[in-house]
Symmetry: C2
Subunit: 122 residues, 2 copies
Amino acid sequence: MMLQEKEKNSDLIGSDRVEGTTVYGADNDKIGSVEKLLIQKRGGQVTDAIISAGSFLGIGGEHHSIPWAKLDYDTELGGYRLDVTEEQLKEAPRFKAEDADRAYDREYQSRVYDYWAVAPFW
Amino acid sequence: MMLQEKEKNSDLIGSDRVEGTTVYGADNDKIGSVEKLLIQKRGGQVTDAIISAGSFLGIGGEHHSIPWAKLDYDTELGGYRLDVTEEQLKEAPRFKAEDADRAYDREYQSRVYDYWAVAPFW
């Protein structure tokens, strides 16, 4: 799908453009892709992106909740960039696809925000 | 897909749960559904939901950009509610599916925020 001119130059992005976008690591290697976003119901603030990593057939992959502020869009790469390598990402708080409920667990979120050194949103 | 317990009780919602959700009007009639969200690239704030209305076969439908603050989630209905009727919505700023670029047009957005009496985000 081609980006139209206004869309490209906008300070806004559609959620459909974010979902599925590739995430690159500090060394420009593909780390994974954005599965979905977590949004505060009340205020509409995106808090985290859920990244699916280490699986290119949808099997055995790890999921990571990544604070939105840690994802930089890189126009050259055409994807988001994280300032960690794929190896380092393995040490970050994660969960299995079948444990998707973890993303909403405050204890897990605490570990996420601690790991990424971002001020918690709660 | 069943909502898991933590997800249900969370103050966060996944973008995948918002997209496709039915939007009801003031009279509880189905008005349309959420197609996607517009998000500020920099801060991650959801500004608007793009609603697809008046089309149940995907043909001839109108799209509306609706400020996020105007959409209330109604747990009884299991969808978002707008405080206008389907008839009134037809008077709101809208665009055709093939003019999706309009959503990123500041002149269009100005009319949207004016119509819905919401303070602009820009």
